[in-house]
Symmetry: C2
Subunit: 214 residues, 2 copies
């Protein structure tokens, strides 16, 4: 809803739309649309419309066409989430860090008014990506997320292989919960998935947290 400078994307009803940050607005708009409607379900015209840009801006700012928009949007969204995960994992004990990551996921991917979705997953599932350009970007993001979570656990004494498995499972479960929540039309499936992950974390760390019912 707000781009990286913090200013609103569309300042009111019908903004003049003639500033120099068109490219950045398009990246944000594309990430939002991919989240909502998927990569194949989003047209270049949808992107420029939401970004209040002109169609000519597409090939001026993104000579690589739709693919490059996908690359940039997935990279932007993936980096943004990675930074927040890394921040959450840097200065907290594993239990709190994972809890923060799960809250982050609920806030970014599941909740937020509209239906659940993830721009990185959307780009990874693109049908036209024959050369794997888009998938590579998505893979990079997933990798960063996993690495951050795993690192948080190993620094607390969990064995590296076990931490890697937990991190992979957590990222996969969250991405899968997006699909389940889409299908269910609500947030409930995520709640179960999140609590299941926390069950596992409790066992991993050998602690028992109060709000995990038997």
């Amino acid at each position: 809803m707000a781009d990286r400078t913090g200013q609103p994307v569309g300042s009111g009803g019908a903004p003049p739309a003639g500033r120099r940050d068109t490219r950045a607005r398009m990246v944000v708009a594309a990430a939002e649309l991919f989240r909502e409607r998927g990569y194949d379900g989003t047209g270049c015209r949808d992107v420029v419309a939401r970004a209040h840009a002109a169609r000519g801006a597409i090939y001026h700012h993104f000579p690589g066409g739709k693919t490059q928009i996908g690359v940039d949007a997935a990279r932007w969204a993936g980096d943004r989430v990675a930074q927040r995960i890394e921040a959450a994992c840097a200065d907290a004990a594993p239990v709190d860090a994972v809890r923060a990551v799960l809250d982050l996921a609920e806030q970014i991917l599941i909740g937020g008014g509209g239906p659940a979705g993830c721009p990185v997953a959307a780009v990874a599932l693109s049908a036209e990506d024959t050369d794997g350009t888009l998938r590579a970007v998505a893979n990079n993001a997933f990798d960063r997320w996993r690495t951050a979570i795993a690192g948080c656990l190993t620094s607390d004494g969990v064995a590296a292989a076990r931490a890697a498995r937990f991190a992979a499972m957590t990222v996969a479960a969250v991405e899968g919960a997006v699909v389940l929540c889409r299908a269910a039309g609500g947030i409930e499936p995520y709640r179960d998935v999140r609590d299941g992950i926390l069950d596992h974390l409790d066992h991993l760390l050998g602690t028992v947290t109060p709000n995990a019912a038997p």
Copy 2:
């Protein structure tokens, strides 16, 4: 590759394609294509081409158009998987049942030559599904899968709420692993996810299986 009667879909190079099972062939072809290219990435013409059918067959057999093809394909694929999960959960101890489910997932969703994919998830992520018809079918399938897995655990003494969380987490993790494997272009992410789930299962059941390295 083979339809529900067991006979090959296309008996050789260019079959005469004039039998009466056109509808069933189209459902199978649609499920395959949705798995490979997603719902929005698959055209009606792709479906009839793979099913060796004529374009007129679309609205003859599916008066509801593409949406109905999606409904039938997701229902068919979802039921098929549900039956196999239920069978695996009916006659085995939880450890073996979950292991069988995970092997099933690897075989159906992740492996199989081409890229990872799931027709049910593809239908759930459709962009045009404004009235929720497609999502309802997908939700139904996910629900059956979860219920079967959870039931297997509760019948072995695991508390119902905990079993439900584990089942939700397992289904979500597998669906998410499909996305991770798409992005990675290989099966490796799934291996970690699967072993993470088995770690959790070991703890849930209080056993220690030999091939789960620390």
